[in-house]
């Protein structure tokens, strides 16, 4: 896959006809590309810029787009074979001596399979390991439920000291990959396999823990992470045509959560729709509802999987069946607005 990284984003502004002159932003894109390629591109940059960065992979180098790093820096690349537990331990050990290890495998094998290794050797030991996880969620597609983890955000956010990031497009994933190398502490970086619109700034500065208001609105706060961010923007356009002003917020860092942006938006709109490619138990939605329950109780609807496993199918089919697309967000918005007092 070749992408022209130099093309500027084609952002347009649309006038939204309200008395208080809220301008809705819509985004366009020039290409669809997978977020895992953003990880690969970020790792390539880190290979050049930071000699302490090392990479480990458990027999999925191609799938994780780590070939470039492997070829350019063979001495800093560790092929561990199909042995994820060992990979996590080796990564923890590499930090002792100043290395910054990036592990790469599928999200299922990055979390559930190796939870105790991460818990004891990385999180509790506070090791500077970056756990980079591709093929998260149902959009992994045809491989089916064994590989489609929908519980990983919950598993990782429950670990004290773990930073949890779920990026929405190629550019953001690349920027996040570079940014986490500068952060001292364990990080879970979640991305995926399907080709999705690449719409965020190519030269963005990724700030861990900072949410982004992608479009301002007044009637509902649509707060999304990962692949659901684009769907949220699409939903906002549909809602706009129906006279509903949606504020769209991209939460790439689920932990630590940008509570300020969530609370301020909820105070303004009085209704929240959380959107994620994850179980409603343990995901972004629960982090938002905990924040709001504590600071500003607000009606909320959850666009997420409903405590279920996935199945085989195309990403688009699965997003529709499991209620994870723009139309699902529109429907959830209608429900939550009806609940507003």
């Amino acid at each position: 896959m070749i992408i022209n990284l130099l093309k500027p984003l084609n952002k347009t502004l649309k006038h939204w006809e309200t008395t208080d002159l809220i301008y809705m932003k819509t985004y366009t894109f020039t290409e669809k590309i997978d977020t895992r390629s953003g990880f690969g591109a970020g790792l390539t940059e880190l290979g050049k810029s930071n000699e302490n960065v090392v990479a480990l992979c458990a027999d999925l180098t191609g799938s994780l787009k780590m070939d470039d790093f492997k070829n350019n820096h063979p001495e800093r690349f560790f092929q561990v074979g199909i042995a994820e537990a060992n990979m996590m331990g080796i990564a923890a050990g590499l930090t002792i001596g100043g290395k910054i290890p990036f592990t790469g495998t599928f999200a299922n094998f990055s979390t559930g399979r190796v939870y105790d290794q991460i818990r004891q050797s990385i999180a509790y030991s506070h090791k500077n390991v970056k756990i980079c996880a591709s093929h998260a969620g149902v959009t992994l597609g045809e491989d089916g439920a064994t590989h489609q983890i929908l519980e990983d955000i919950g598993l990782m956010k429950m670990l004290p000291g773990m930073t949890v990031i779920n990026t929405c497009d190629f550019n953001q994933t690349k920027a996040a990959t570079i940014a986490v190398a500068e952060h001292n502490g364990p990080v879970y970086l979640r991305f995926g396999r399907p080709k999705v619109p690449n719409f965020t700034d190519e030269n963005q500065k990724f700030r861990i823990g900072k949410g982004l208001v992608l479009s301002p609105g007044t009637d509902v706060s649509i707060i999304a992470t990962g692949h659901l961010v684009w769907e949220a923007l699409e939903a906002a356009k549909i809602l706009h045509e129906q006279g509903i002003s949606a504020e769209v917020i991209d939460i790439h860092t689920i932990k630590p959560l940008d509570e300020k942006i969530v609370i301020e938006s909820a105070k303004k709109t009085g209704a929240v729709v959380s959107c994620e490619e994850h179980n409603f138990l343990g995901g972004l939605g629960e982090s938002i509802s905990r924040t709001l329950a504590t600071h500003h109780p607000t009606p909320q609807e959850f666009v997420a999987t409903q405590d279920t496993f996935g199945e085989s199918g195309t990403p688009a089919q699965l997003m529709e069946k499991y209620g994870l697309n723009a139309q699902s967000i529109v429907n959830a918005t209608k429900r939550v607005i009806a609940r507003k007092q």
């Binding site: 800093r76 042995a83 060992n86 080796i90 923890a92 050990g93 930090t95 002792i96 100043g98 818990r119």
Partner: protein
Amino acid sequence: MNAIQQLENTVQQVRRDILRMVHKVNSGHPGGSLGCAEFFVVLYKEVMEYSAEFSMDGIGEDLFFLSNGHISPVYYSVLARSGFFPVEELNTFRLLDSRLQGHPTTHEKLPGVRIASGSLGQGMSVALGAAAAKALNNDGRLIYSLHGDGELQEGQNWEAIMYAGAKRVDNIIATIDVNGKQIDGSTDDVLHMGNLQEKFEAFGWKVISIKNGNDIASVIEGMKQAKNETNKGKPICVLLHTEMGNGVDFMMHTHAWHGKAPNDNQLAQALEQNPETLGDY
């Protein structure tokens, strides 16, 4: 007093420390700790080169990783008696707000500890990572690690053993405490592991056996031999044959003292068999 006798004296004091620590809080793991007292003392007093000023990265130093973290009493005693922290701190073992947690951890920033251990089977992978960092840093010092024999039942070990052999990691000396016992009984009864030497050799390791791991001179000789085998393209495994509960007659030849503390009378009896040498904490 010759060097061996001095080390014997240290071992005896370490035994007292172990017994008093677990007795005070009526919990902890004296059996395996006592069995490894000679190994720890030899490692920290004779074998490894390290700085008294602890740094996590340990650049230019030999590093040690304890995988079977439950034998923390012997680890803490030897660290304290090697100058990493005051021996008085052994008084806080397993108490609230202590740096001496039930199982070793970096969380409370105890000098000398570089990884948490306790959930078994993870230490060899970590040691291999540290060995890789040494290699990348052109740091010629070595990585030492200790593992229980029962602990080898954890599958992650075999991932690590396979990796080390395949990648020819030759700056690591992984010692297995072969005491033949685990919580539920003998390792042969619980899950027979066959011939460990042949298993390690089949995975591409050089194996050195220390027949009497509770004899100071044997441990020194065996570890010296192990060191001579480093940097020859193979990882080194030391099979250290020890007696669980060594040095306290009623704790030996049984698995009963794996994770049980002595009562007042038993403590008195055990301490009588191990008179004070360097001064109690």
